[in-house]
């Protein structure tokens, strides 16, 4: 069943000079139990999309969509309170900087206990605080913190970034969410801790059937943990489909460049030889090119590209490019 099904999500910033479209008609869906990666360079709109899903964008942003379904129910049509209730119950998010997302003035125990919803504690009221404590400890064990006694009494600044990140995850899974969104969860972490964290997220996915949306600017670090992939460039969805088939044969020149620029995906590349790189850099929102936003940097651009390409589909593989990297005979 489709858990999340968003069609033509558009997110615009209200400015004195009018609306600036930061996210442009993006489609995104997640099945129950699916792990999807969302990749794109900084500024491509990944975090905006995540925040739009959990409904935490402030009033300066305007969110619209043709469809914004959660478990078959259109969230944008629900009254605000109702919307908050559904999201708060079912979706949890892990943010980029753990130590800043935790409350620096409260001990971990307090913060973790607060994250456990009352309806998940089964027992008479006089046992509630005991049950809550037990549950908090259990959550820490689940995320791989063994030394729970010391950690529960600590304040965030006394703990390493890696442990803070695990606590964030413990808080996120405390309410047994249906969807876990992890926004660049490993940027602050060491490579060994990064690998641990991804394995942890994958294990929740496998054990509990939790769906995971894994957001990163590095394709190589999430490719092996995701089944499906959505690639963003400059606020637009350029390609989506099964991770393995995209890595094997990308259709969009931008995805192709992402893959080719990473030495890891190029086993035959000699050390110290130049990497594949698109010229130029991602444009700022105020000066977006007309038509395909990759146009000025795209090696395959032709005059047709001044028209915005539409999202095309070939089996389960979506792309938006006038000249996809497949022979026309396949189409």
């Amino acid at each position: 069943m489709l858990l999340l099904d968003i069609k033509n999500l558009t997110i615009e910033l209200k400015t004195p000079d009018g609306l600036i479209r930061a996210v442009d008609r993006v489609n995104l869906s997640l099945r129950e139990g699916e792990t999807r990666g969302l990749v794109g360079e900084s500024g491509s709109g990944k975090s905006l999309i995540a925040k739009a899903i959990v409904g935490v964008l402030n009033k300066r942003w305007q969110v619209s969509a043709d469809r914004f379904n959660w478990c078959g129910q259109d969230l944008l049509r629900l009254p605000y309170d109702q919307q908050r209730k559904v999201i708060g119950r079912d979706i949890a998010m892990i943010y980029q900087e753990p130590s800043r997302s935790l409350d620096p003035t409260a001990a971990i125990l307090e913060q973790l206990e607060e994250a456990i919803p009352a309806h998940l504690l089964e027992g008479p009221w006089w046992k509630r605080s005991y049950l809550r404590r037990r549950k908090a400890i259990g959550l820490l064990h689940k995320v791989g913190v063994r030394d729970h006694q010391a950690v529960l009494q600590s304040y965030p600044y006394q703990l390493s970034e890696g442990v803070c990140q695990k606590i964030m995850i413990a808080m996120a899974i405390a309410k047994a969410p249906k969807l876990l969104i992890a926004d660049e969860p490993t940027t602050a972490l060491e490579s060994t801790t990064q690998a641990q964290l991804f394995r942890l997220l994958a294990s929740f996915n496998q054990l509990k059937g939790t769906s995971v949306l894994l957001i990163s600017h590095e394709l190589e670090s999430i490719a092996r943990y995701t089944q499906s992939l959505s690639v963003l460039y400059c606020g637009q969805l350029v390609e989506a489909g099964e991770t393995a088939s995209i890595i094997k044969q990308p259709y969009h020149p931008y995805t192709n460049a992402l893959i080719k620029s990473v030495p890891e995906f190029q086993p035959n590349l000699q050390p110290k030889t130049p990497l594949y790189a698109l010229p130029g850099s991602i444009p700022v929102l105020q000066h977006l090119p007309i038509g395909c936003r990759l146009g000025p940097r795209c090696p395959n651009a032709r005059k047709e590209c001044v028209k915005t390409p539409t999202l095309e589909r070939l089996q389960n593989h979506y792309y938006s490019c006038h000249f996809p990297l497949i022979g026309k005979k396949d189409l």
Binding site: E190, H217, K272
Partner: protein, 255 residues
């Protein structure tokens, strides 16, 4: 191959005050040895707290070693002569872009660097600035720009221009590539490789990004709790790391 930098038995311990009368010492680096030849790249990898930054600080003279020697082209380096060699070894940090003064034009910033460390006259400085900008794929007009007028990728180039304008022999990059977006990182990596090929620049790459290390570093040194665990040719260490810790670190990056 000419040896540019040689480090022998370098040690550094920090003494932290803990309580009124007691001191706790932290061994930041101990008995570090390595050599780096002209035109080569050495990567130093390890986790936070392994001593990487301390090592970098010792090399650029921000901190003084307790014992051991740092030899530059065979000559021992002394802290008191820092100014003498600060144009031979240059340093670029992770947040290089943020370390630029927002109120100073790029041309002025580069001119300051030259005035501080060279005897060039204004005319020669102007020429040098122009050459350096060009070398990094920037334009003459960029001299008149303030930092906020550049994109992230250009800012990284500006930071490189500041490091390279003194024609250093060695550039130390402390996590300077880690946070970059892939397409930008590929551009900067290509630029660094090209500069190395053209001018024999040596790099000391301090990072925990092992995937990149394999592509650009000739040699690799794995640092753990202040000590060097494995040291040698990159491909060799990747294939035959001697210590469990190094193997774990390498596997986490490549499997």
């Amino acid at each position: 191959m000419n040896t540019l930098l040689e480090v022998r038995d370098l040690c550094k311990t920090y003494h932290k005050q803990s309580g009124w009368f007691s001191q706790r010492s932290v061994i930041a680096v101990q008995n570090i040895n390595f050599t780096l030849a002209e035109g080569k790249t050495l990567a130093i990898v390890g986790e936070t707290g392994s001593g990487k930054s301390t090592l970098a600080k010792l090399l650029v003279g921000i901190e003084k070693p307790d014992s051991g020697d740092i030899l530059l082209a065979g000559q021992p380096v002394k802290i008191s002569h820092y100014r003498q060699y600060n144009h031979v070894i240059r340093f670029i940090f992770q947040d290089a872009a943020k370390s630029l003064n927002p109120h100073q034009k790029i041309g002025q910033m580069l001119d300051d660097v030259l005035r501080f460390s060279t005897v060039l006259d204004p005319q020669q400085r102007k020429l040098k600035i122009r050459q350096t900008l060009k070398q990094l794929g920037l334009l003459d007009e960029h001299s008149e720009y303030y930092p906020h007028m550049f994109s992230g990728g250009q800012l990284q180039r500006v930071a490189l221009a500041r490091a390279l304008i003194l024609d250093p022999k060695l550039l130390i990059l402390d996590e300077a590539l880690t946070a970059l977006d892939p397409s930008l990182r590929a551009q900067i990596v290509n630029l660094l490789l090209e500069l190395q090929q053209k001018s024999g620049l040596a790099y000391l790459l301090i990072t925990n990004h092992l995937r990149l290390v394999r592509h650009i570093a000739d040699d690799l040194l794995v640092l753990h709790q202040g000590s060097a665990l494995d040291y040698g040719n990159t491909a060799h260490v990747f294939a035959n790391a001697g210590h469990d810790y190094s193997r774990k670190l390498i596997n986490s990056a490549i499997t």
